[in-house]
């Protein structure tokens, strides 16, 4: 009998507001420790929180994007626990009534789509960071992160494989970046994931779940879930029982390890935060946020297919990030003749070259206008596609326009029939044997002649014209 893995995910997404959730401190990443703090986020006696409405707006926007219910009245609660990087001894969070509930996200699964329920999104504040590495007998605390707004996005246990979990996370990651509600840089901890994993026989009730922590890359998430599912299955098959507990993923060994049992779990003693009145939103405020909704990845994919006639694969690739999609649209606007050529050159040629040097589209030394200039030269037969690739290499290296490079290197394609005919005649004169064989019926040799003519032109002859003229002249 087979096993089914059941996965639910809790994702903490740092909201990219300028200031913290409850005070005016900067949220910029990478500052000297404890330089972006104030009495409020240090938890000094008598200090009070004031809610950052920008964080609310961004959470509502995310809620609208997953087609969720926006609670016009939500509430903040205190989540109580002691830890040195939690200055107040409690975290301001939303427990009983979150801002967002009952949404969903459609993820690509094996050529189709699968709908993953999103239970809730609530707004809360991040804790500081405890630093232990390289320190002997002491720990250091950096409270720059203390108070940065987080959305906690909690899914339903709707995923049935590590691949689905990763697909969901990628989709969510893309969404929050499209919405510009988070920079979602996983290396900076701006998009963090905990996974609840259990196994069961298909059709049976859910098994006992474990919570996996420390999953800070898509690769680790997949590894951790797969490891954990196997561990649970083997445990049950050996007659054991899964214990409800929190487990830490050890990425160097690729295993999960018990961190604390259910009995050791915190009692967070949630209760309504008396320093903040309930958060009340007007319907009109929500509608205004909705009107500011940017185009979402799924809509954009469909539009790219329809408007530009792209394959679903190309549409998918080009809508990976908002920046890439915008880049493509500038390119297509600058080279309207052939949107598919734009897609090919961007996705295959430019991105491929950038990737080799570890760069992203936003770092491209070639602008969309410049690439369009290159494509124009292909379109008007000034250069061949093959030559164009060399020109692109040169453009990336020098940042110069295509025309300047074509001119300087004399790469202009030969499209003059007389010149091409001359070259063909020279090649025929130099290879009388092959001409005779061709004429005797060995048509395979046609390619040989094309190659020879192209070689003679040093690649500059227009290949289509070479083909056409060769057919004529070889028949003479």
């Amino acid at each position: 009998m087979s096993w089914e893995v059941v996965i639910g995910l809790e994702v903490h997404v740092q909201v990219n507001t300028k200031t913290k959730a409850f005070c005016g401190c900067s949220t910029a990443f990478g500052a000297e420790p404890n330089t972006q703090t104030c009495p409020v986020c240090l938890g000094m006696p008598g200090q009070l929180p004031v809610l950052n409405m920008d964080a609310v707006t961004k959470t509502v926007l995310t809620g609208l994007a997953i087609d969720a219910t926006i609670n016009l009245e939500s509430r903040f609660d205190r989540k109580n626990y002691f830890y040195p990087d939690l200055p107040k001894g409690y975290q301001i969070s939303q427990f009983a009534i979150p801002l967002v509930e009952h949404g969903h996200l459609d993820i690509p699964v094996g050529g189709g789509e699968k709908r993953i329920g999103i239970t809730r999104i609530h707004l809360e504040e991040d804790a500081g960071k405890s630093l232990h590495e390289g320190l002997e007998g002491v720990s250091h605390i950096d409270l720059n992160r203390s108070g940065i707004p987080l959305m906690e996005i909690v899914s339903e246990p709707d995923m049935r494989s590590a691949d689905e979990a990763v697909a969901y996370l990628k989709q969510l990651h893309q969404l929050v970046r499209f919405l510009d509600v988070s920079d979602a840089d996983m290396e900076k901890g701006q998009f963090r994931c905990d996974a609840n994993v259990s196994v069961r026989r298909p059709g049976q009730p859910f098994g006992t779940r474990t919570e996996l922590k420390n999953l800070n890359s898509f690769r680790f998430i997949k590894q951790a879930i797969e490891y954990e599912a196997m561990r649970q299955i083997e445990l049950i098959e050996d007659g054991g029982k899964v214990v409800q507990e929190t487990r830490l993923f050890d990425s160097t060994k690729g295993v999960t390890r018990s961190m604390r049992s259910k009995e050791e779990a915190h009692d967070y003693r949630y209760f309504p935060e008396p320093d903040l009145p309930p958060l009340r939103l007007e319907r009109e405020q929500v509608e205004q946020i909705r009107r500011g909704m940017p185009e979402l990845p799924a809509q954009m994919r469909r539009r790219f297919e329809q408007e530009y006639g792209l394959s679903s694969y190309d549409a998918e690739v080009l809508t990976q990030t908002r920046e890439l999609a915008a880049w493509y649209e500038s390119l297509a606007a600058a080279h309207p003749a052939d949107p598919k050529r734009c897609a090919n050159w961007l996705a295959n040629e430019l991105l491929g070259r950038l990737k080799e040097s570890g760069r992203d589209i936003v770092d491209s030394p070639v602008s969309a206008q410049q690439l369009a200039g290159l494509l124009d030269r292909i379109a008007d037969n000034t250069i061949s596609g093959k030559i164009a690739k060399d020109v692109l290499d040169a453009m990336i290296e020098s940042g110069e326009d295509a025309d300047a490079i074509i001119e300087a290197r004399g790469l202009k394609q030969v499209t003059d029939t007389t010149a091409i005919d001359d070259m063909i005649r020279e090649v025929m004169a130099a290879n009388p044997e092959q001409v005779a064989q061709y004429k005797a019926g060995k048509e395979k040799l046609f390619g040989f002649f094309v190659g020879q003519v192209m070689k003679a032109s040093r690649g500059k002859a227009n290949p289509a014209m070479v083909n056409e003229r060769l057919k004529v002249l070889l028949r003479e």
Binding site: G43, M44, P45, L48, V50
Partner: protein, 488 residues
């Protein structure tokens, strides 16, 4: 002289009869003479006070007088001030220097007041007798063997003993009104949300409210006019509410047409007969001034103390979690590990009453008990609020005793926290309902002051002040002052 009202001092300062420096000296001498015995002040920096007074005199000469120009105001040790320590009378904050002023302290400074030292209080405002202070008990000026009430005991004592003309207090369950009552002064707790809580060390955030403690009703109005107002940095401070014409409110001479509610639950048997008699006579006096006395009922009064002692400790258990020895305040010596740091720091820093309330609150919020305690308390809180709403359909203002008893002896109730908690039985419901209330002197029993409490609908502090001002003018309790010579 030391028992002169704030308003009278303000007039004399303006008339040039006395300078702010002279006024400060007058009270500094009183403090030097009597504070050793009374223990009303836990921090007093003579130099800093005289400096402020001199600056005030200079300001008056150059730019004219502001609302509280040159007036010395004693500050409960719960208000954060840049100058001097802010210790909340707790060992865990011993020597703590706040890096900012509480919002109301800023307002006082901007109004030209002279911050006149930090007053004694129950540790973290948890207590009704001032006995839980880490700096020793404050004493009642009317009888030094007795408590001044709490938690704002030091502020009440300072004003009653003429060590300062006025003081700031805070009131979570009666901490302004009960000591005002027991020391024979006037204390006003404004509507929750009327005064900013920013920079006031939190005890129970949904209940805490700062207010004036003064000799006269007019003084309370003067100080309130400076303290009240919206603060955008306190999310519970309210902006769109009726403003009060403080001066007009205290101008009232009679109580014609005023309906005064007399809640039968506050005049129950088992109360001190002397206290009851004083309050009844006060109501008769009000009747004589034209008021109509209406018998009303606040049926959930009985549940108020229990409700309060779930909600306040619950909030306190979270509010006091920040005193962990990590960033400020007391830290134990040589902690073995993190847990040791927490437990020893907090064990050494907090006194027994504070620990009791942290434990009570932690228990009430614990998984499995939350519904039975915290949630139920919130529901009862709603019922108590509704009691008042219904009552105010019938009456304009409610009058009750402030405290069921006069000041008790130091040590008398220390070992019986439940009896101690019942000392707040008449003041607590007001905090749970977020209403404004005022206590003023209305007589004496065996030489100890008795307080009359006025309660008004939310945002109607004007009604409290009008009723209290009219009563004050009709009586002469203000002229009685304690005999302090034996305490010098």
């Amino acid at each position: 002289m030391p028992f002169t009202s704030l308003c009278e001092w303000s007039r004399r300062l303006s008339a040039g009869e006395i300078s702010a420096v002279e006024l400060a000296r007058l009270y500094l001498e009183r403090v030097a003479r009597y504070n050793g015995r009374l223990n009303a002040f836990v921090h007093h920096d003579e130099e800093a006070i005289l400096e402020q007074a001199a600056a005030s005199d200079a300001h008056r000469a150059k730019h004219g007088a502001r609302a509280l120009e040159g007036l010395p105001i004693a500050i409960k040790d719960i208000f954060c001030t840049r100058e001097g320590p802010t210790q909340c009378c707790s060992n865990i904050l011993r020597g703590y220097q706040a890096p900012y002023d509480a919002h109301v302290i800023t307002l006082l400074k901007e109004a030209g007041a002279v911050l006149f030292g930090k007053t004694n209080m129950d540790e973290f405002a948890m207590g009704s007798s001032n006995e839980t202070s880490a700096f020793g008990p404050c004493r009642n000026p009317w009888d030094a063997e007795r408590i001044p009430g709490g938690s704002s005991g030091g502020s009440a004592c300072a004003v009653a003993a003429g060590l300062a003309p006025a003081a700031l207090g805070t009131d979570t369950g009666g901490s302004i009104r009960q000591p005002a009552s027991l020391c024979g002064i006037t204390g006003l707790k404004p509507t929750y949300g009327r005064v900013s809580r920013r920079g006031i060390i939190a005890f129970a955030s949904s209940l805490d409210q700062a207010g004036p403690m003064t000799r006269s009703v007019e003084d309370a109005a003067l100080l309130a006019s400076v303290l009240c107002g919206h603060d955008p940095a306190d999310a519970t401070s309210v902006s769109n509410v009726p403003q009060i014409d403080w001066k007009a409110a205290v101008g009232r001479q009679d109580l014609k047409g005023v309906r005064i509610g007399r809640p039968r639950e506050y005049f129950s048997e088992g109360m001190d007969a002397g206290v009851l008699g004083c309050v009844e006579r006060a109501l008769e006096c009000c009747q004589g001034l034209g008021a109509e006395i209406v018998d009303i009922s606040l049926p959930h009064t009985e549940a108020a103390v229990a409700t309060y002692y779930v909600i306040a400790p619950s909030e306190a258990s979270a509010n006091l979690a920040r005193y962990d020895g990590v960033r400020f305040g007391h830290r134990c010596e040589q902690p073995r590990d993190l847990l040791d740091l927490y437990t020893r720091t907090r064990d050494e820093g907090f006194g027994p009453e504070v620990k009791r309330r942290i434990l009570t609150g932690t228990f009430a919020l614990s998984s499995g008990y939350y519904d039975a305690y915290y949630l139920k308390a919130q529901k009862v809180r709603t019922l108590i609020r509704q009691d008042f709403l219904r009552a105010f359909e019938q009456v304009d203002v409610i009058a009750t005793p402030t405290s069921p008893v006069t000041a008790f002896r130091i040590g008398e109730k220390t070992n019986d926290p439940l009896t101690m908690y019942l000392a707040d039985v008449f003041t607590i419901a007001v905090n749970l309902a977020g209403l404004p209330a005022l206590s003023q002197p209305c007589g004496f029993v065996d030489g100890l002051p008795v307080g009359l409490q006025w309660i008004a609908p939310a945002w109607r502090e004007d009604r409290l002040l009008s009723a209290a001002a009219a009563y004050e003018k009709a009586t002469d309790w203000l002229s009685r002052t304690p005999e302090l010579e034996a305490m010098a």
